[in-house]
Every structure is written in structure tokens, then in C-alpha cells.
């Protein structure tokens, strides 16, 4: 009897222990699930904060709940985040939390978990802090055309049977029907010398700084096909065998250019994949400045007049064709963006109603950055054009998706004087254009759990 009682008590204890183990397993499972869900909600909040910072250049504090800080319902819980910006170091900080109910009753506290008034009763909470370092892209060359560079110059890249974009030995050169050209007098001048920002306003004085060794590239390409097309345009578009170094300063034959290695950053037409996508660049400008005070929005067609000067630079958008008629002058300073009317949000077939065209039949004088970015972009100069600063161009194929390297190019037909004179001081902090340059380099430089 005693034995039965002892064994019985033992078994009951075993049962209790087993039950406890079961309860622990159950609690573990519940906790695991809660932590998992709260973490996923937290990461979703962080994703939204990060996308906001990266896309909209959020410099002022914001929260997941909009203007009024509040928790946003998400999945089985809710999230909250806020951002801060440190202008001294150009660092945005995102603090994000996800929470799921852990008890039957939960507090209705709406403040941030790092607030002294936070009451986390009944909640499973997970938080993360992310640091995003932002910097502006400073143009390092007078001219940069993305993707495939200039479209189909004589000797340039053309698709055909067996062409492999990654294997230059398979590339078929354009032998007829070139899309881009220039007159034999080579009226295009691209100068990487550092011109004073007020060069146009002081009659071309003082003399631009010399370059020895050269501080800036005379041209930059996004990929080898763009490089190939650019060189072909300089070499052949004005006639087979033309000297491509004419009107390029510093001349690429100078000793300080490494002409032996096309992959070298010191090559006259270097490939620089770190350059931001021009479409993205233009898109960010449109998003940020389209409704900003001082922004000028011009419609497609003939335009003339003055849009900003050295004391009042601004952002000027032209949707469609910027045509400056013979006898007219289009002048200004800041950033000039010529774009198509393609809206990725509503246009599904990649065919905007307008192209992005810069057509100079009269005079263009622009101090700052000129961007021609859109569907089937082209630049035509039959008048006289001078840009002090830099020129960017890119096709908008698939809304920046870069589907095809021979169609993602810019047509460039230059029949009269067109000068692009680099000016670094315009883009540096304190320069005329610096504050308008999008924050294209936004990198996560730190992350930690809260």
C-alpha cells in the first residue's frame, strides 16, 4: 500500500512536472510568436521610415502616425516610428517599434516607447534604431549621359544577331543611318577645367583653373556601351577618323589621362557605375520642387526669358520640348530639368505623350546643372548654347528600369556651337546649386536594437 502511495505520489509529481514543461513550451511558443510578430511589425515600420528618408529626403522629424504621433495598426499589432535629422553630419535617425498584445488587457498609451510617459503594460515590444547618412552627388564631369550614352553615332553600338552586351567583341558598329551626329567643324566643346561660377556673367573671365593633373573627367559614362558610343560620337560623327580630342579640354591625349586602359578612372571617357541614375535624380527633383515656392514650370514649346540669376537661382522644369527660337534667348541659373510627361503611376505602356527635347535654335545661357531626362531624349543645337556647370542626360526606358542599352540613349545632333564648361564651385557646399542637388547617396551606416 505504501509502495502504491509512494509510486502514486511520484507519478503525480511527474505529471505536475510534465504539465509545467508543457506550459513552458506553450509559453515559449506564444513568446516566440509574439517576438516574431513584433519584430516583423517593427521592421515594417523601419522600412516605411527608411523609404521615406531615402525617397523624400525627410529632414524634418516625422512619425509613423503622420503629423500627430500615433501608433498605426499593422497585422496583429501596431507600429510607431519617428525620424530626426542632424544637419551637422547629414544623418537621419529612424527609431521604429512594433508591438503585439501579450496580455488580455493592454495599455492604450500612444506615446513613443522611449518617452518617459510610455506605458507598455500588456504589450510585447521590439524596437530598432537606424542611422542613414545622406550626401549629395557632386558632379565630377561636365557631361554625363546614363545608360548607353549617345544614341547610334557612326561607329557606335547597334543591336544585331549574336550581340552580347557584355562582350564587346560581338558588338556591331553602326555603319549607316546614324541617329546622332555633329557638324564637321566639331562645334561641341566639353571642358573639364574648373570655370568660375560667374563665368557667363563676367564675359568669360577670369580664366578657368588649369588642370594638371586633371581633377575632373571630361566625360563620364555609366557602362562600357555608353563609353563606346561616346567615343564613337566624338571620333566618327563628324566624319570618319576625325580627331576626337578637338575641343575637349584638357585634351585626353595629355599624359595625365590613362589612354591605355578604358577601365581606368583616368581614361578620358571613364565608366563610373557609382554615378546616380539620372532618371532618379530628375525624379527626386520633381518630387521635391514641383510645388515649391520659386520653382518655375514651363510647358512644352517655344520659350525665352530669364529664369534666375546668380542671386536668385532656382529649379526650372520644362515638360516636353524646350525650344528656343532663332533670335530668342533662354537664360538662367540653378537646375534646368527637361522631362517628359510620363507618369509611372498612370502610364502602363511606357509611351508618354511628350519626349524630353532640348532644341536650341536661338541662344541658351545657363549657369548650373541642365538635365535632359525622359522618353527618347534629344539635344539639338543649331543656334548657340553655353552651359557653365554640367549636363546630364538619360532615356527613361521602363521608367528607369534600363531595359535596353541601345534604346536607353540620348540623341545628340550638334550643328552649331555648344559649350559645356565645368564649374566645380557651383556644386560644392555654399555653391549656387549645391542645396538643390538631391540627396542621392543615402546609406544605412548604423543599426541597433532598442
Amino acid at each position: 500500500m505504501i509502495l502504491v502511495v509512494i509510486v502514486g505520489i511520484g507519478l503525480m509529481m511527474l505529471a505536475v512536472i510534465s504539465l509545467q514543461v508543457t506550459l513552458v513550451h506553450s509559453d515559449t511558443r506564444t513568446t516566440q510568436q509574439g517576438v516574431f510578430e513584433a519584430t516583423q511589425i517593427r521592421d515594417s515600420a523601419a522600412a516605411q521610415g527608411l523609404a521615406n528618408v531615402k525617397t523624400n529626403e525627410v529632414l524634418t522629424p516625422m512619425s509613423g502616425g503622420g503629423a500627430t504621433a500615433s501608433w498605426v495598426n499593422f497585422a496583429n499589432g501596431s507600429y510607431y516610428y519617428y525620424t530626426t535629422y542632424d544637419p551637422a553630419f547629414a544623418i537621419s535617425t529612424i527609431r521604429a517599434w512594433g508591438r503585439v498584445p501579450a496580455d488580455e488587457t493592454t495599455s492604450s498609451c500612444m506615446t513613443a516607447p522611449d518617452s518617459l510617459s510610455w506605458d507598455g503594460t500588456g504589450w510585447m515590444l521590439r524596437g530598432v534604431e537606424i542611422f542613414v547618412k545622406a550626401s549629395r552627388y557632386i558632379p565630377r564631369a561636365p557631361v554625363y549621359f546614363g545608360n548607353g550614352g549617345i544614341e547610334k553615332p557612326m561607329g557606335g553600338f547597334e543591336w544585331g544577331a549574336g550581340v552580347d552586351p557584355t562582350d564587346p567583341s560581338t558588338w556591331i558598329p553602326v555603319t549607316s543611318g546614324a541617329s546622332s551626329s555633329q557638324d564637321s567643324s566639331v562645334p561641341f566643346e566639353s571642358s573639364a577645367l574648373d570655370h568660375p561660377f560667374d563665368y557667363l556673367y563676367n564675359g568669360g573671365t577670369p580664366t578657368p583653373a588649369s588642370a594638371n593633373p586633371h581633377p575632373y573627367n571630361i566625360w563620364a559614362s555609366q557602362n562600357p556601351i555608353g563609353q563606346f558610343n561616346t567615343e564613337a560620337w566624338f571620333t566618327n560623327s563628324a566624319g570618319v577618323g576625325f580627331d576626337p580630342t578637338i575641343n575637349l579640354t584638357p585634351a585626353p591625349t595629355n599624359a595625365y589621362y590613362d589612354m591605355s586602359d578604358p577601365t581606368s578612372p583616368d581614361y578620358a571617357y571613364p565608366v563610373d557605375p557609382t554615378i546616380p541614375d539620372v532618371q532618379d535624380f530628375a525624379s527626386q527633383l520633381w518630387t521635391k520642387f514641383k510645388d515649391a515656392p520659386g520653382t518655375t514650370k514651363l510647358s512644352s514649346g517655344s520659350q525665352s526669358g530669364t529664369y534666375g540669376d546668380l542671386s536668385t537661382p532656382g529649379v526650372t522644369f520644362v515638360t516636353g520640348r524646350l525650344q528656343v527660337d532663332s533670335g530668342d534667348t533662354f537664360k538662367g541659373s540653378g537646375i534646368l530639368v527637361i522631362r517628359d510627361n510620363y507618369d509611372a503611376n498612370v502610364d502602363a505602356d511606357n509611351t508618354p505623350g511628350t519626349r524630353a527635347i532640348l532644341d536650341i535654335r536661338g541662344n541658351l545661357e545657363w549657369t548650373g546643372l541642365v538635365i535632359v531626362a525622359g522618353w527618347a531624349p534629344s539635344i539639338s543645337v543649331t543656334g548657340d548654347a553655353t552651359i557653365v556647370g554640367a549636363l546630364f542626360g538619360e532615356d527613361s526606358v521602363q521608367s528607369g528600369g534600363e531595359i535596353s542599352l541601345d534604346s536607353a540613349t540620348i540623341i545628340m545632333n550638334i550643328q552649331n556651337n555648344f559649350r559645356v564648361l565645368y564649374s566645380n564651385s557651383l556644386f560644392q557646399p555654399g555653391g549656387l546649386v549645391h542645396d538643390y542637388l538631391p540627396m542621392v547617396k543615402k546609406e544605412v551606416v548604423g543599426i541597433r536594437n532598442l
Binding site: Q33, Q48, V444
Partner: protein, 183 residues
């Protein structure tokens, strides 16, 4: 032990004072055995249930790990430079993953199905409802087609993982917003 006069007698050391009528009746023995059996059964059931819970916890852990891996894979795609041909970049998340299913070898009949919600106007309330996914200032765009897919900056996704456990179908769901974290 032996049966004596119809009673179950335990073997005892003979004693001069022993009562020949002492010992356990059959009923007592039967009751004890029954109690013992019930105890053993209940303990066994509790133990089995504990083991089951342990296994289920592990299965859940495996399931959550599989979902985390899937999210990591999607984030890796999102962080690559935009290239729709190679289905890389955040713009390709929708076309690459939406309505696709992926087998999970570590779970019996394990399968993850992916649903993306690229239409700003119909983002489910569990993601916070209607919202601006391309950060263009409005929340009225359908970003589901190939070309406009490149415009996505934030992709709401639901991963549903189903697997067999004890002859029952188990489901674990994960709702996430995916974005590009790399520059």
C-alpha cells in the same frame, strides 16, 4: 503472494502475532491498480502532450525561420541595382514574387505563397490601409504593371506558410513592408 480463503495475501515474515485475516482484498488491489493505471495513463498523456508541444514549438520555429529567410531573400532582391530583365531591384519584387509558391523542405508539405499589394488604393487595412507606396505625394496609383513596378519604393507583402503537422494543416502568416535598404 498467494490466495488464501478467497483473499489475496501478501507474503510476510511469519509472525506469531499475525492475523490470518490481514492483507488486501481483491477490491483493494483492483482499486490500487486502477488508480495506478490512471495515474500512469495521465502522466503518459501529459508527457506525450509535452513532447507534442515541444515538437510543435520547434516546427513553429522552423516555420518562422523559413519566413524570415524568404523575407531576407526578397530584401536581397530589393537591394540590388534596378534591372527588370534580371528581375533585380525593388521594382521587380512584384513581378518576381507575386502569386508564386516556394517549397520548404524542412517542413512536411511546407509551402510559402507570396502575395504583394502594389495598388495603393487597395492596400489592406492590416498594412495600415491606403497609402503612398512610391512616395509621389498621393495614394491613388496602381503600381502593379511591369513598367510602373519600377516606381515602387515600399512593397506590402503577405507570406503564408502552410505545412502538415499531426495530420493537420498548420498556417503561419507574415505581413511585411519591404523596401530597399542599400543605396
Amino acid at each position: 503472494m498467494k490466495i488464501q480463503n478467497g483473499k489475496w495475501m501478501t507474503s510476510r515474515v511469519p509472525s506469531t502475532t499475525a492475523n490470518p485475516e490481514s492483507g488486501l482484498t481483491l477490491l483493494e488491489v483492483a482499486t490500487s491498480v486502477s488508480i495506478f493505471a490512471i495515474l500512469v495513463l495521465s502522466v503518459s498523456m501529459t508527457l506525450v502532450r509535452g513532447v507534442q508541444h515541444g515538437r510543435q514549438s520547434f516546427q513553429r520555429y522552423v516555420a518562422m525561420s523559413a519566413l524570415r529567410d524568404m523575407v531576407a531573400q526578397m530584401e536581397e532582391t530589393a537591394n540590388k541595382p534596378e534591372d527588370l530583365q534580371k528581375q533585380e531591384g525593388i521594382g521587380s519584387i512584384y513581378t518576381k514574387y507575386n502569386t508564386r509558391s516556394y517549397s520548404i523542405a524542412d517542413l512536411k508539405s511546407g509551402q510559402i505563397s507570396v502575395t504583394c499589394y502594389p495598388d495603393e488604393k487597395t492596400v489592406p487595412t492590416k498594412f495600415g490601409g491606403i497609402q503612398d507606396l512610391n512616395f509621389d505625394g498621393d495614394a491613388g496609383d496602381d503600381l502593379g504593371n511591369l513598367s510602373s513596378g519600377t516606381d515602387l519604393r515600399l512593397v506590402p507583402i503577405t507570406l503564408t506558410l502552410t505545412f502538415q503537422e499531426d495530420n493537420q494543416t498548420q498556417t503561419v502568416t507574415l505581413d511585411r513592408l519591404i523596401t530597399k535598404t542599400a543605396d
